[in-house]
């Protein structure tokens, strides 16, 4: 099953130099077409899920939620390549541009949050 979403394709052509907090220029990012199936595989294999959860939900002590509704690609890629916080840096030596795009495709594919009514026990 392929997840090459319309939302993703709309931002793929962009070439952006993101300026991150602290004034450090990020690497220029060329967003490639992403494969969500491979992205999920890489997301799990490369340990993204350990801090951000298997569906990008995040966890306060370890890392913010990534999905649904991930950051724009350029901001996402900038954070992965040159993190501004305690996150380990994933340079192109250890994570290719294609794998990065695939991970992003996986995050984009994650469905929206459930209806709060289905989680009514949270109100107790």
């Amino acid at each position: 099953m392929q997840f090459r979403s319309i939302q993703l394709s709309s931002i793929i052509p962009m070439l952006v130099t993101a300026v991150l907090a602290g004034g450090t220029p990020a690497q220029a990012q060329v967003a490639l077409p992403g494969d969500a199936v491979n992205g999920k595989r890489v997301y799990m294999a490369d340990g993204c899920y350990q801090c951000h959860g298997t569906v990008g939900q995040g966890s306060r002590p370890t890392g913010p939620h990534l999905a649904p509704n991930p950051l724009p690609y350029e901001a996402f890629a900038g954070q992965v390549r040159r993190p501004v916080n305690a996150m380990p840096p994933y340079t192109s030596v250890v994570l290719s541009e294609q794998d990065l795009a695939d991970i992003y495709a996986y995050l984009v594919s994650i469905p929206p949050l459930v209806d709060p009514k289905t989680a009514a026990i949270l109100d107790n």
Binding site: A45, G47, G53, T62, L95, L113, P116, N124
Partner: protein, 645 residues
């Protein structure tokens, strides 16, 4: 008691005098007579059946008593009873067999068999944090104490009173060859002296009595801490010397140290004058009174309270509870009052674990810092649990819970009438922020609501739903598994609702500490539970058998993330920093291949079990069944395959 003891000595002493077998006197000394025979030099021509050795078959040598009318360890048991100690947690050992026998037969104390000494001490730790007093832990002075040492260190860092006795055979001529030699030691307590508050090796029973009461008093005086008594096996096993007039020394009521009145008044002045005072509490509340006093102080001041979770300090749903937005609140503070806050530096700084480690202060210049706590009253040098030095303006070395009533009175006295409206407005603003934080929290909990492995937010929500109508208590908490979701989602108001994590960060605390908490909670009819880390349980899984054997009503809900999760993240950081990728960083930190069957493990140890559960829809029904088991007075375990954090 002493009268009864003296009567007993007198009545039994006559028996002791005649305590030799009449028949034994008639037996000669075959060893002596054989030794006087000239050795034969002639070799036998073939196999020879050894001649009978009468020494091995004739029972006791002459003139050696074989029964005794009094026992030193009976007196020890009387002293232990006088301290109000109700339970023993213990893995058995020869070096304290005398006291063991006295406790079960003479005192008939409630006994809890543990399968590891680390579990014994952690169980005592969990009990003390709920009940406010120790149980007795017994162990070998060598091998047992080595097993117990990590749990003692956790209790030391956590300011918890542990009352421990270990056996040792001091007189080398009394040690049986072999095992008793490598189970004996010159100075048993040396192993743990860096992290016990006091220890002793009594040379007589009178010495024991005085030191046993002294040890209890020292352990229970803030800062509370473990103490250790090393008991000579001869002193335990043998009769009470005829000349020794034994009494049980009196234990005084222990009144904790209250802060200096001048310092308390100065603190009150700072608090009432501040625009944004903040109270940060860590190992503060020992009892419900501690929580109630902090609520009263915060309500008067209408100030923010941050509960760091070393204990249950402040109601989770109180509008002034700002624990979820601690950094923002601390950043705005002009006065910060730390209550039993040993890591003041950590509360006022952000630390960055990067290639170059560095830190930033997060407080405004000129913020006044005040600390009330007992930790400065007793500090040791070797282990570095005292944290980085923080410059503060006023340190009041005292017990914070006992000091708070005086601080409250001082604040009331100084509270200017014209400030009350401003304070009320401050409180309303904080309450609104609290409500907003809860709204965000519930939104966050929706992420991965239906995911498998099961999200920690869903896990916490389902457990809350299962126990919220019970009188419940979270027992021990795995060191790096602070109950973040429960503290945020659950309505916590009682001091026993949770008691904080392992003080020294030593894994293996959570499961046995929960068992100890269950022992304390049992007589109050409370349901004890743990959100139990898988790595933590595997340090001492035998505690599940102890729960079954001791009929402890306790619910273990496994947070089974199949890893030592904290360490995975640390390895990933190293690997990526060095640009080696993290595809191999699971090595050494995951608990898979094969997966551990915790439900099967629990079942084999006599504990009702459910799971493994991977589908969140199955969790609620399984928890309901497990709670029913626990309400019958038995332990249960639900294995939940979970997300990392």
């Amino acid at each position: 008691m002493s009268k009864r003891r003296n009567d007993s000595v007198l009545s039994r002493r006559g028996l002791l005098k005649g305590a030799t077998l009449a028949g034994a006197a008639a037996v000669g000394n075959p060893l002596t007579s054989r030794a006087q025979d000239a050795p034969s030099t002639a070799r036998p021509s073939g196999p020879v059946t050894p001649a009978p050795n009468p020494a091995m078959e004739s029972g006791h040598p002459p003139d050696r008593p074989i029964i005794q009318g009094t026992s030193g360890s009976d007196y020890m048991a009387d002293v232990i009873k006088s301290l109000g100690i109700e339970h023993v947690a213990c893995n058995p050992g020869t070096s304290f067999r005398g006291l063991h026998e006295s406790l079960i037969n003479y005192l008939k104390i409630d006994w809890h068999t543990c399968t590891h000494e680390e579990a014994s001490v952690a169980m005592a730790n969990g009990y003390a944090k709920i009940e406010g007093k120790p149980i007795l832990v017994l162990a070998h002075g060598t091998v047992g104490l080595q097993h117990a040492s990590m749990a003692l260190y956790n209790a030391w860092c956590d300011r918890v009173p542990i009352y421990m006795m270990v056996g040792n055979t001091v007189d080398a001529t009394k040690r049986a060859p072999g095992g008793e030699w490598f189970h004996s030691v010159q100075d048993a307590a040396a192993l743990v002296r860096d992290f016990v508050k006091w220890d002793d090796l009594p040379g007589s029973l009178t010495h024991f009595g005085e030191s046993a009461v002294r040890a209890y008093q020292i352990a229970m005086t803030p800062p509370m801490a473990p103490v250790l008594m090393v008991l000579d096996s001869e002193l335990q096993d043998g009769p009470i010397p005829p000349h020794e007039k034994l009494v049980v020394p009196k234990l005084p009521r222990i009144a904790p140290l209250i802060g200096d009145p001048g310092g308390v008044a100065e603190t009150a002045q700072l608090l009432v004058s501040a625009a944004n005072p903040v109270i940060v509490a860590d190992r503060y509340a020992r009892s419900q009174a501690g929580i109630d006093r902090l609520v009263e102080l915060a309500d008067i001041l209408q100030c923010a309270v941050i509960d760091l979770g070393g204990r249950m300090n402040f109601p989770s749903r109180h509008g002034l509870n700002q624990s979820d937005r601690a950094r923002a609140v601390v950043g705005q503070a002009d006065v910060i009052l730390g209550l039993e806050l040993e890591n003041f530096w950590g509360a006022t700084h952000a630390f960055h674990d990067n290639i170059e480690r560095y830190s930033d202060t997060v407080i405004r210049p000129g913020t006044k810092l005040v600390g009330i706590g007992a930790a400065p009253l007793y500090v040791k040098a070797n282990y570095q649990d005292f944290q980085r030095y923080q410059e503060i303006d006023l340190s009041i070395p005292a017990d914070a819970e006992a000091t708070l009533p005086y601080l409250i009175e001082a604040v009331k006295h100084l509270l200017p009438a014209d400030r009350k409206a401003a304070m009320a407005a401050r409180g309303e603003k904080l309450a609104a922020a609290h409500q907003q934080a809860i709204k965000v929290l519930k939104q966050d909990a929706l992420y991965a609501w239906n995911a498998s492995p099961i999200a920690t937010s869903r896990l916490a929500a389902e457990v809350w739903e299962a126990i919220r109508n019970e009188d419940w208590s979270i027992g021990g908490i795995s060191s790096n598994n602070r109950p973040l979701w429960p503290q945020r989602l659950w309505d916590m108001t009682k001091h026993y609702h949770h008691t904080g994590p392992a003080g020294g960060g030593g894994i293996g605390y959570g499961a046995p500490a929960t068992a100890g908490a269950a022992l304390a909670n049992k007589k109050h009819g409370r349901l004890t539970l743990a959100i139990q880390g898988d790595g933590d349980l595997m340090y001492s899984p035998g505690i599940l058998w102890t729960c079954a054997h001791s009929r402890l009503p306790v619910l273990y809900v496994m947070h089974n993330n199949r890893s030592y999760h904290q360490e995975i993240m640390g390895l990933q950081k190293m690997a990526n920093r060095r640009q080696r990728g993290i595809d191999r960083t699971h090595i050494g930190v995951t608990l898979d291949d094969p997966f551990i069957d915790y439900a099967g493990l629990a079942k084999s140890l006599g504990v009702a079990s459910f799971g493994p559960i991977s589908d969140p829809a199955d969790l609620g029904p399984a928890l309901k069944k497990a709670v029913a088991v626990v309400k019958r007075g038995e332990p249960a375990l639900v294995d939940v395959v979970s997300q990392g954090r």
